[in-house]
């Protein structure tokens, strides 16, 4: 983990967020964007330029699967849903993230002796 560059870290985080968003129900690309925004309490807006490459990467890796369908305003849209592989990955990445956050928290709360 420590060897990842800054960009990779953010990329990994975005993947995790997308997986989480999709785990709550199938979404199209724009919907993923909205949902992440929503469940972060409007704190996080995903950059549009990173969204679709990330979605395609996750699908390439087999974590999500896509299907064309009709959206709420009767337009065609590509819906993404979580696969079994993706669910497994979501679980593992969540555990890793929480552990990382805990470690960093511990470091940051170190007091000068």
């Amino acid at each position: 983990m420590g060897k990842e560059k800054q960009a990779d870290l953010l990329q990994g985080t975005l993947d995790l967020l997308i997986l989480k968003a999709v785990s709550l129900g199938p979404l199209h690309g724009y919907g993923v964007l909205l949902r992440i925004q929503q469940i972060s309490g409007e704190e996080l807006v995903v950059q549009q330029g990173s969204l679709y490459p990330a979605l395609y990467r996750l699908e390439h890796q087999g974590a999500i699967a896509s299907e064309w369908g009709e959206s709420e305003n009767n337009r065609r849209a590509k819906y993404y849903s979580l696969t079994a592989l993706g669910r497994e990955r979501l679980g593992e990445e969540t555990v890793k993230w929480e552990r990382m956050a805990g470690i960093i928290g511990t470091i940051l709360s170190a007091v000068a002796e």
Partner: protein, 885 residues
């Protein structure tokens, strides 16, 4: 992550990548649709938030940014970048190749030559050394061998073979085979065929299923069956589908054809295909098969599945010792062993590597040449490389693109090279010595050969493509963009690596051409040698072997005399005579007798000498055209009851009785009853080789020296084609069991000169190849030179130099390189040609004509190679060169 999910992930990745490749258009359309749908949703939201539809759409699009960048990243996520770049490189490479037809043509042809020759030689190595036994599951087969105090032996008696088969537990089957020769009679024609006499389980153990009919099985006594080979079936029987069940006549015995072998199976002996397979039960009596001291059979064993070579070998050793104890008279001191397939391959590896390495040098030279030309071209492409680097291409990308171009060139070269290899393989028939039987390896461009070709092509790409690619990627941008050449490396050194290479190639050409020249002169001289008989005569030779049909001694003589009489009576025959051996035939090598010469002191205090001899009948010298110098020819009176006489060659007469008359002298030929009186002296003749030293030679009357094989020498008035069937019919009439081999004078001459002609052809081909490569190398160097010195040439022309001056400048460079190379080559030739002295006839190894000739050829070729670059140099426009291209 567990292994299962990792592998599932990998599979998903591969599926996704393949899907993206195969349905690319749909992918692109979907990407467009998805991005468009995103924009629509966003505008809908913005409209809901209060914007006008137009404004909403505009805002949404601005937020999205350029779809192009998104799509590039999306494609990247799918792993399509490498693939797209490869396709682009290939297209670009093809375009570049089309724009430079000269370079492309020379490169492809050079590579085709190098790769083709290597592929052809590898197919020979594969057929002769590497290929496994042509049977099912060859890895379980092993040749059985015996180690004796005299060395290794691979021949066994049939009785030993039977014991082996019975006693071995670890080997499930053994086959035995023995090579014989027979004459096949089809209609009026007889032809010589090679057959294998084999154990009845031959086809079964080898796992060969006949294409027609069935294989040999244990036949009941009296039934003579034969399995025919595919090539004989096609050539002699026109692939008759009803051949099974037909009777054929082999050496005057009748056999039933019970099957035809599959097309690819030619028996177990590489290089000498089998025409027919016969069973031991019909070829040898039970008594003969029980004879343990007759070792005529080779044996192959098949190991049971799971048995290792060591185990099998141990068991064989044990059986061998048991046999040695049981039959001490025959099998003592024979240690049985075997050569497993893996060992055979390992032993074959070294000669294969040696062979391939020596031919690989040719490919190396080709690659070096192309690398030189590519480097020259790279000079002109510096601007292009600089622009691409400036636009953001990584140096690695550039290298990849240039390597792709090289790979394209190599691909084309390999394709053409396989064609070259195919043609070279077809030359095998022309290169083999003339013989009665069809010899030759089963050369094919099959899997291993194709694999090898692909491997050396890939290697070639690295060899000739890597250096120019790396060089181009190192281009420093600013000078290249400014088309400024003054910062280029200006080495005053004349002895650069590339110049050295051209020097080397030129020197090599000179050596090869000199060798060719010497061999050609030698061949011309040998053609003029007085052979000691008249080679212009229309002679036909019938090689008879009555000994095979159990004629011997006087009976053989009677047979031969009768045959002679019958043939002499045919119309169109001028004269017939008999000889034990025909001069210059490849058989016998000139048998000899021990001779003592009373009254003459032999050198080194020896008591006797071995002298080559021939047994001939009266009229031989006249028929052959050998001149009688003194005395008389043999007559009918010189028969078994008459006094023993001999005729000797002039060399013998002058050696032992110099300055005196040899007539009437006596020599003792072969033992105490061999006292002969010399009654004639004839001119010297060539006995074994055309270029040999003159040796003493003795002729004895055939009647006094009977033999089981002799040749009828027929001087024909009619063309051979009309006479041959009639002559054959006469011999068959007399006794059809006696094999007849027919040769004409032209056949004899081609046999005699075959090795000389082959050597000349081979060396000349090498010489031509070497010269061609040298020319290409020189062209490359000069082209590079012209490119680099364009500005200098422009300055010269601006200062008043004319076209002729520029031409002379370039030509001088080329000729100078060639001269230095030729000089080195001449020196090398002086040293090396000495090695050829033994092969040359009538030509000294330092023959000035050959040396001068090769230098002239090389210089002419150098001028030719310099012509194109020189022309290009002279076409330089001074103003343009001074400015920039």
């Amino acid at each position: 992550m567990s292994l299962r999910s990792w592998s599932a992930g990998e599979i998903a990745r591969i599926k996704s990548w393949l899907g993206a490749l195969l349905w690319r258009n749909r992918l692109e359309a979907e990407m467009d649709a998805e991005l468009a749908s995103h924009v629509e949703h966003r505008s809908a939201d913005l409209v809901r938030a209060g914007k006008t539809p137009d404004e909403a759409r505009r805002l949404a699009r601005i937020e999205m940014g350029t779809a192009l960048t998104h799509k590039e990243n999306m494609r990247g996520a799918l792993g399509l970048h490498r693939w797209d770049e490869l396709r682009a490189d290939l297209r670009y490479g093809l375009r570049m190749m089309a724009k430079n037809p000269g370079f492309t043509a020379v490169g492809v042809v050079t590579l085709a030559l190098g790769i083709g020759i290597n592929a052809a030689v590898f197919s020979v190595a594969e057929a002769a050394l590497l290929r496994s036994w042509p049977a099912a599951q060859p890895e379980r087969l092993a040749r059985i061998t015996a180690t004796t105090p005299e060395g290794q032996d691979a021949d066994f008696s049939y009785a030993d073979y039977r014991d082996l088969a019975a006693q071995s537990r670890l080997l499930e089957g053994f086959v035995a085979w023995s090579r014989r020769a027979k004459t096949l009679q089809v209609g009026n024609e007889t032809r010589s065929v090679l057959d294998d006499v084999v154990s009845p389980n031959y086809f079964a153990v080898l796992g060969i299923r006949p294409a027609l009919g069935r294989g040999l099985e244990a036949e009941s006594a009296g039934g003579r069956t034969v399995v025919m080979g595919d090539s004989l079936w096609r050539s002699a029987f026109n692939a008759d589908p009803a051949i099974v069940g037909k009777q054929i006549s082999l050496t005057n015995r009748s056999y039933t054809v019970i099957g035809v072998a599959p097309a690819r199976f030619h028996g177990l002996q590489r290089g000498i295909p089998t025409d027919l397979w016969l069973s031991v039960s019909s070829e040898a009596s039970a008594g003969e098969l029980a004879e343990r001291s007759d070792r005529e059979y080779e044996v192959l064993g098949r190991m049971r599945p799971g048995v290792t070579a060591e185990q099998a070998r141990a068991e064989l050793g044990m059986i061998g010792r048991r046999l040695a104890r049981t039959y001490p008279a025959d099998d003592k001191a024979r240690n049985l062993g075997m050569e497993a397939e893996s060992e055979r391959l390992r032993a074959a590896l070294v000669p294969t590597l040696l062979l391939q390495a020596s031919v690989g040098i040719v490919l190396l030279i080709c690659c070096a040449n192309i690398a030189g030309m590519a480097l020259a071209r790279a000079e002109t492409r510096r601007g292009e490389m600089a622009v691409r680097l400036a636009l953001g291409a990584g140096r690695g990308r550039l290298v990849r693109q240039l390597l792709t171009e090289s790979a394209l060139l190599a691909g084309l070269g390999a394709g053409l090279g396989l064609l070259v290899a195919w043609r070279l393989i077809g030359l095998q028939a022309a290169l083999l010595p003339p013989a009665e039987f069809t010899l030759g390896l089963d050369l094919r461009l099959d899997g291993p050969v194709l694999l090898y070709t692909a491997a050396i092509s890939a290697l070639a790409v690295l060899l000739f493509g890597l250096a120019p690619a790396l060089q181009a990627a190192k281009t420093s941008l600013t000078p290249a963009l400014k088309k400024d050449e003054s910062t280029g490396r200006k080495t005053g050194r004349w002895l650069t690596v590339r110049n050295l290479m051209v020097l080397g190639e030129t020197a090599l050409s000179v050596v090869l051409l000199t060798a060719s020249g010497l061999l050609v002169r030698s061949l011309v001289n040998t053609q003029k040698i007085d052979l000691g008989f008249d080679k212009e005569k229309n002679l036909i030779f019938l090689d008879l072997t009555p000994g095979i049909a159990d004629y011997n001694g006087q009976r053989s003589l009677d047979f031969l005399t009768q045959a002679e009489g019958r043939v002499a009576s045919l119309p169109g025959v001028k004269r017939v005579s008999l000889a034990r051996r025909v001069l210059l035939s490849d058989s016998g090598g000139g048998t000899y007798k021990i001779v003592t010469i009373p009254g003459v002191t032999l050198p080194d205090g020896r008591q006797s000498l071995s002298i080559k001899y021939n047994a001939v009948d009266a009229g031989y010298f006249q028929t052959m055209g050998t001149r009688l110098l003194r005395g008389r020819d043999f007559t009918v009176a010189d028969n078994a009851t008459g006094a023993k006489v001999a005729v000797i060659s002039r060399a013998m007469a002058s050696r032992f009785w110099p300055g005196q008359d040899a007539l009437g002298r006596h020599i003792v030929v072969g033992g105490k009853d061999g006292d002969c009186m010399i009654v004639g002296v004839v001119q010297d003749a060539r006995i074994v080789h055309v270029g040999e030293e003159t040796e003493p030679y003795i002729y004895l009357p055939l009647a006094q020296s009977p033999t089981g094989e002799a040749t009828l020498i027929v001087e024909a008035a009619s063309p051979a084609a009309t006479l041959i069937p009639a002559m054959r019919a006469q011999i068959n009439d007399l006794d059809g069991r006696v094999p007849v081999g027919i040769r004409t004078m032209s056949y004899l001459m081609s046999q005699a000169f075959w090795s000389d002609r082959l050597a000349v052809g081979f060396m000349a081909a090498l010489g031509a190849l070497g010269t061609l490569l040298g020319a290409i190398g020189l062209y490359g160097v000069l082209a590079y030179l012209v490119n680099r010195r364009r500005k200098e040439i422009g300055i010269r022309m601006a200062l008043g130099a004319g076209r002729g001056d520029v031409l002379r400048l370039i030509f001088r460079q080329g000729v100078r390189l060639a001269l230095v190379g030729a000089g080195v080559g001449l020196a090398a030739s002086f040293a090396l040609m000495r090695l050829m002295a033994g092969f040359l006839y009538g030509v000294k190894p330092s023959d000035p004509v050959a040396f001068a000739g090769s230098v002239v050829v090389v210089l002419l070729v150098a001028v030719g190679a310099s012509w194109l670059p020189a022309r290009r140099a002279a076409a330089v426009q001074p103003m343009e060169a001074l400015r920039h291209e």
